[in-house]
């Protein structure tokens, strides 16, 4: 007799647990307002990334096309993957030959967005940008030159 009672008990509690589950999915079915997904390319205008989001490395330029990079290679050393390559040139400053930045090469395809280069920079010349749409059709486009053509170093940065 006990086993018979257990048999029906099992069915009752089993069905009850199933209905509890269905109540939850039913709740979400009847509350379409709670939908959390967004439609991405359509919401580009309103989509705002968090300010600290690490998208890619950029070299900051001001309105006079000047940057703060001295070409010291600290970021190149800090980078674990060889993402950053600094090519130097020698410039005349007060009659002395001084090392300066020629080309700031950034291999986006190798970057792991670890952000170690940012604190390594002594002059705060580079920052992480918020952009995240990096897809391109040609791999070579991922190798970028970060200093603008014709740009030069800001006055007073050593």
């Amino acid at each position: 007799m006990k086993s018979v009672i257990n048999y029906f008990k099992e069915i009752y509690f089993g069905l009850k647990s199933l209905i509890t589950g269905m109540r939850i999915t039913g709740h979400y079915f009847t509350h379409p307002k709670e939908i959390i997904t967004q439609q991405y390319p359509e919401n580009r205008e309103t989509l705002k990334m968090f300010e600290r989001f690490r998208g890619e490395v950029v070299l900051l330029h001001n309105e006079n096309n000047e940057h703060k990079c001295t070409g010291c290679s600290a970021c190149e050393v800090a980078c674990p993957n060889g993402t950053i390559e600094i090519i130097h040139k020698r410039v005349d400053v007060d009659g002395r030959k001084v090392k300066a930045l020629d080309t700031f090469v950034y291999h986006l395809q190798m970057c792991t967005m670890c952000g170690l280069c940012i604190p390594a920079c002594p002059t705060d010349a580079i920052v992480m940008a918020n952009t995240f749409e990096h897809a391109v059709f040609d791999r070579s486009k991922l190798t970028k030159v970060l200093n603008n053509p014709g740009s030069k170093i800001m006055d007073g940065i050593k």
Binding site: S17, I24, T25, R52, F53, R54, C114
Partner: protein, 372 residues
């Protein structure tokens, strides 16, 4: 004729390659199954499909650079992995980090554990055929990744720890967002029970399946929730407290059954514990610096250093042998997934294919963690 009738039907074992591409191996794990009908006779895991020689790479990297490589091992508990390396280096340098750093590391570590368990819960449901749980798990996890993104700058591979402290201070919104998440998640966690834990189909599919005794757990060195489900008290946070774990009250979840359901329930209970740890700390973040001053080039003294932490999957250890250079002479990671996987054959023998999927789900494998 008599012979034909009385003789039992002969059956033959056959092999199936489960993986490297299979929906429920969670990555590129290859299991060679010996099957008799649907019953599993032997499981042979073949690993190495995503081996990236992280340990070897570490021998050429500076200690700051090693940290970001550990993000790529157990990517679901990346912050805790980072913490392990940082604690190891700090131990070598005999560097005392500020209290603020310890508390923040603990909070973010517990958030990481929560997010890992949420994802595991979703995937566990999906492996057993309830696809909806997958989306619900991710829904709640999204709030945590938002917290990470705002404070650490990335959603998955955060790299927030540096030897000596943190990369930058917490975001002003951090506390508010975390509290919002806790209130939200406390309402959602009972739904997890309603959808899976109490479901009769789920209970029957997990109870008594994939049993692992306490002795076997220890001999296979299965740690984490999988080990604690068999009664093996192995919580590093309790036995060797690091960061701020010695200041908070929490229970070590222990169960004795050692089956799939115990492992499942262990993780669900751990989520409640994580919530309580975060609640204890979130209002008590001490003021101070977010980083102890370190040299630009860290050189560890000559010697051997071992630091272990409790990730979402079990005990994660970092063993550093230093020759006094700026890179370690040799670095070894003890990853929990590797040891947990070794017990799979023992657990799965005599089970059905559907059970193997459940067992794999409950030991919560992350393949890059196994292969490194």
């Amino acid at each position: 004729m008599e012979d034909v009738i009385t003789k039992p039907l002969e059956s033959q074992e056959y092999f199936i390659n489960m993986g490297p591409q299979h929906p429920s191996t969670h990555g590129v794990l290859r299991l060679v199954l010996s099957l008799d009908g649907e019953i599993i006779r032997k499981v042979e895991p073949h690993i190495g499909y995503i081996h990236r020689s992280i340990e070897k790479m570490c021998e050429h990297d500076s200690y700051q650079q090693i940290v970001h490589l550990t993000d790529r091992m157990d990517y679901l508990s990346c912050h805790i992995n980072n913490e392990a390396v940082c604690l190891g280096v700090e131990m070598g340098l005999q560097l005392e980090v500020p209290e603020r750093v310890k508390v923040i590391r603990t909070i973010i570590g517990e958030l990481t554990r929560l997010s890992s368990h949420q994802l595991w819960w979703g995937v566990m449901g999906m492996d057993l055929g309830a696809i909806t749980t997958f989306l619900y798990g991710f829904r709640d996890r999204e709030m945590i990744t938002d917290i990470f993104e705002e404070t650490c700058g990335a959603r998955l591979t955060m790299n927030y720890n540096v030897p000596g402290g943190l990369m930058f201070d917490i975001h002003p919104n951090f506390q508010k967002r975390t509290k919002d998440f806790i209130t939200h998640f406390k309402k959602k966690l009972p739904e997890y029970d309603d959808l899976l834990s109490n479901n009769v189909i789920f209970r029957q599919r997990t109870m008594g399946i994939g049993k692992l005794s306490k002795e076997d757990t220890i001999s296979y060195s299965v740690t984490g929730p999988s080990g604690r489900a068999s009664g093996f008290s192995c919580d590093v946070r309790k036995h060797h407290p690091y960061s701020a774990y010695d200041k908070v009250q929490f229970k070590e979840i222990l169960r004795t059954e050692g089956d799939c359901f115990a492992r499942y329930q262990c993780r669900i209970d751990e989520m409640w514990e994580s919530i309580s740890i975060i609640e204890q700390l979130i209002d008590n973040i001490p003021e101070g610096s977010f980083k102890a001053p370190t040299k630009a080039v860290i050189k560890l003294p000559k010697g051997e250093f071992y630091q272990k932490v409790e990730t979402a999957r079990g005990e994660f250890g970092v063993y550093i042998i230093s020759e006094g250079q700026k890179s370690p002479y040799r670095l070894k990671f003890r990853s929990p997934g590797f040891s947990n996987l070794s017990a799979l054959n023992h657990m799965a023998q005599g089970c059905k294919i559907a059970d193997l999927v459940a067992i794999m789900s409950t030991i919560d494998l992350v393949i890059p963690d196994i292969d490194r």
